[in-house]
Symmetry: C2
């Protein structure tokens, strides 16, 4: 299996604190040694980092921990391979363009081989994971149903959730998906989130000895939601999603 | 304008030496302060780095110079903006998927506004540059003509060159394009290449005091071609492409 980390914020925010905890699980406190990746949006622009090496040893991961990249939407993933060998092409998150937006996708779980019978239309996988195949199918479905970007988010949300239900019927499908403003979080078995806003307090990571006082790092107007498969802090209350539940976040809050 | 750097090799090879020279031109020896990017293929997998900051100051660029990433195909770009503001979405190289391959594109030059009348089909730009628009049009044309990956490289080459001729008629269009194995280099006004193979010798960068003895860095079977808008070394003979000429490289040699 793998671990997911997502962030939605109303101001460009760095994810160094949460990323520091997650990276420990990539061969340190957790067994997810089979690569990691992270995608940062700045407006519609995307910069992503992918590495098939364990995150706990990675020089690139260290750079990201120490060199704050401020972003409104982030998706990160650390991998413990099941379907597909360990290589760069199989390293999440995956990206494809639709409507002139770069969509980013990461998946926790494993899907039945029947997945590969779902017909692909516009998008085709580069690697051999079930995850990338599921993404190509899902985004192709979205493209067929919404050839142009809809004004009506509710219709899009409903459509995505129905297609995710189809994928969940094939196994375990916890997912983070975004096109730069909306962050879709779909839960199959485990996904939890927390919104941090004023009055900010301290948070302590579960996976390493690191405490941050967000009061010192933020302004009173900042709103930041973090979503993850397993909560990253030990002194805060995280809200779990129910199986089959999807929440869409924008500007740091559920919409 | 901008500068381009490409590499094709028959074994995974790092590009630290050439990249060190190019990065100096991003605000050091050259005026290309408006961002930079680089894409490395490992098999069909791609890792890319994009930064809208000047490369000469960039921590990420420093990491790449000092942390060898070995790859068979590389495309890099440093930007001096003309069309489109300086931001992440406008930072080359650009990527899109076709046939289950991630295509990467970078452009030097500037195209007439008539470019934006060319019809887009499958691919749409995220940013506002003429370059990304040209890429979306070109790849859409390739997709329409070759819905599946052709066995016949010559037909594909001819098609791409004809479409590049169309773009060159709109201004200056020096281009590097790849899908992971073939590196297409099209010249409108400036592009030069060199193939290094045994017996290897020393090379000295033009843009900074750095000399490398490739004999110590390689095996006798290595073949590595480097392509760039302006030759990077002062003690080697580079071959210039003619305007309208396209060369396709694979495994380090022209095919």
């Amino acid at each position: 299996m793998c671990e997911l980390l997502g962030m939605s914020a109303n101001v460009p925010t760095d994810i160094c604190f949460s990323f520091s905890g997650l990276m420990q699980r990539g061969g340190g406190t957790g067994p997810h040694r089979d690569g990691w990746g992270i995608a940062f949006y700045e407006g519609k622009g995307l910069r992503s980092f992918h590495d098939p090496e364990p995150s706990v040893d990675s020089q690139i991961a260290n750079l990201i921990k120490e060199h704050p990249i401020k972003s409104n939407v982030v998706i990160s993933h650390i991998r413990q391979a099941n379907v597909g060998e360990v290589n760069l092409a199989n390293t999440h998150p995956f990206t494809r363009e639709l409507w002139g937006f770069i969509w980013t996708f990461a998946h926790n779980g494993q899907l039945d081989k029947a997945l590969f019978d779902l017909p692909l239309t516009h998008y085709h996988p580069v690697g051999t994971t079930d995850s990338e195949y599921a993404f190509c199918w899902l985004l192709g479905e979205i493209r067929n149903a919404f050839p142009e970007r809809p004004d009506d988010l509710v219709a899009l949300q409903t459509f995505i959730q129905e297609r995710c239900d189809q994928l969940r019927a094939l196994g375990v499908f916890n997912m983070l998906l975004t096109e730069s403003t909306w962050l879709f979080a779909y839960c199959s078995s485990k996904l939890a989130w927390i919104t941090r806003k004023a009055p900010f307090g301290e948070a302590s990571l579960t996976d390493c000895e690191l405490t941050v006082d967000f009061y010192k790092e933020t302004t009173p107007n900042d709103i930041v939601t973090v979503i993850t498969t397993v909560p990253l802090t030990e002194n805060e209350v995280w809200t779990k999603l129910e199986p089959g539940e999807m929440i869409t976040f924008a500007d740091g809050i559920p919409v």
